[in-house]
Amino acid sequence: MITDIITIIGKEFKEIFLLRGSFRSTILNLLIIVGLAGIFFPAQMGTTWLTNPTGLLTWSWLPLFLVMGVVADSFAGERERHTLETLLASRLPDRAILFGKICAAVLYGWGMAVVTILLGAITVNVMHPGEGVRFYPLNSFLTAVALSFLAALLISSIGVLVSLHSATTRQAYQKMSMGFLIIWFIPLLLQFLPESITRPMIQSLAHLNLGQVMGGLLTILVVANIVMLFLAVNRFRRDRLILD
């Protein structure tokens, strides 16, 4: 099964890097995102980028948006390009196909996030040289790496579910964008709630430190990932995929 997953990952990576028709344009797109979150913001913030985890935890998520494009294409794209049925008619087990596609999207997005985080540290050291080599506090670094992994996995699992239900890549991407837009607007909508509800929430949040917030976030992501992976495994059925 592991060999089969690796086979799918290899194929997906070849396709990812040729997604928009050429290897050069894909690399250019990557450089823009990685350059923004790994060079531009760290250069602007200087050593604060390393010492204050807020910037790191905010901007290192940026590459994860790459996952959306990749994962939207995973099944809907294969269906659109009429390659899905041939893939399903092969000897590959269901789970190898599913996990291969999820792993490829996770490795791509998470890999870019880790590269961005490391590049940020290099940028600060180069642009704002001080005594010796400086790095993030270990707990901030590990939290950012773990969060970006869990977030990539969550986006991939949700994306695969959406892609399984979509006829085309564009439709899958639109559905995902709409979903994330709604999630994005939730904090804004909170301000319209009555003060009797929001005040206790704000008060309880004010007592939390960053470590507790991150711990809570990690727990939520782990649970959400388990649920989404369970749903994706259950939704993946060859006959449904062929008839959809």
Partner: protein, 308 residues
């Protein structure tokens, strides 16, 4: 195991439509089995059922003695397939496409390259192996898709319209390759095609399906033999009195005229000479006479027409 494929009253229903309706076939190993039918007859659904990609609504299908419902994965392990679409990754090169499916079937790297060279050379595509497939003609893509289906040397190959889009030379070469595969390597080919002369040349057995129902199964010769002897006459001055004279013969079961061509169907063993004499006496100027059995195409059209 006498049959490599066996179905018993196989049914697949989509809503109120029975795409496959009680199909029972036995395909012996080592032959090309033709599955013939008009568009929407249920050919592709049957292939999907045989590959375990769809579950039957009723009945049963066995491939290699394995129930496709319970052991679809094991069935697919031993099969190659070229389905309705080529299924090629168009952003990848020809070699990448074969390489990927070689990995899927756990072939080692040396074996993959050797097999890719062998197949691509035989299809005249080796020089273009590093081209992305998107720029290729339909015929080239079709050849590559056939190469992919054969790549891992499966014992059973499902080919859905394999020569569609191929030029006559490439189609003939593919037919030769398939015949070689069957005769030398004992591979079984389950072939759907609209090209009836092709089926007649290639297939040891054929099945005719229409609206999900099996109309006939047998060798092309036996299907053609189900029709009575035919005499095709090309001539001039074919008039009503000549047609009436022919119809008057008790051995004549059918007369059909299309412009200067007259097709007369006779009872088996009937003598055609008196009919020709009658025609000439009625003033018909006969240019050409051809006596023989109906072609598979004619037999197929008759079968499909009868069921309408």
């Amino acid at each position: 195991m006498n049959s490599i494929i066996r179905t018993e009253a196989l049914v697949r229903q989509f809503g109120n439509v029975r795409a496959v309706d009680g199909v029972s076939i036995d395909v012996p190993p080592g032959i090309v089995f033709g599955f013939l039918g008009p568009n929407g007859a249920g050919k592709t659904t049957t292939i999907r059922l045989l590959l375990g990609l769809l579950e039957p609504t009723a009945g049963r299908a066995e491939v290699f003695g394995l129930d496709t419902r319970a052991s679809g994965a094991q069935v697919r392990e031993q099969c190659g397939a070229l389905l309705e679409h080529t299924g090629l990754y168009e952003r990848l090169t020809a070699l990448d496409n074969l390489e990927f499916y070689g990995r899927v079937w756990r072939m080692n790297s040396g074996e993959r390259l050797a097999r890719a060279k062998e197949l691509l050379e035989s299809f005249g595509l080796w020089e273009r192996r590093n081209d992305t497939v998107s720029g290729w003609s339909r015929g080239m893509k079709q050849k590559l898709a056939v190469a992919r289906a054969l790549f891992h040397r499966p014992k059973l190959i499902f080919l859905d319209e394999p020569t569609a889009g191929l030029d006559p030379v490439a189609a003939a070469a593919l037919r030769d390759d398939l015949q070689t595969l069957v005769s030398r390597q004992g591979v079984t080919v389950f072939l759907t095609t609209h090209n009836l002369p092709e089926a007649e040349k290639l297939c040891a057995q054929v099945a005719v399906i229409r609206q999900g129902k099996l109309l006939a199964v047998g060798s092309p010769q036996s299907l053609r033999g189900q029709e009575n002897n035919r005499v095709e006459i090309t001539g001039r001055n074919i008039n009503e009195s000549a047609l009436a004279a022919v119809r008057a013969y008790p051995d004549v079961t059918g007369v059909e005229q299309k412009d200067s061509r007259l097709t007369i169907t006779l009872l088996p063993g009937a003598d055609s000479a008196p009919i020709l004499t009658a025609l000439m006496q009625a003033g018909v100027l006969v240019d050409e006479v051809h006596k023989g059995r109906a072609s598979l195409e004619e037999a197929f059209l008759d079968l499909v027409e009868e069921e309408k």
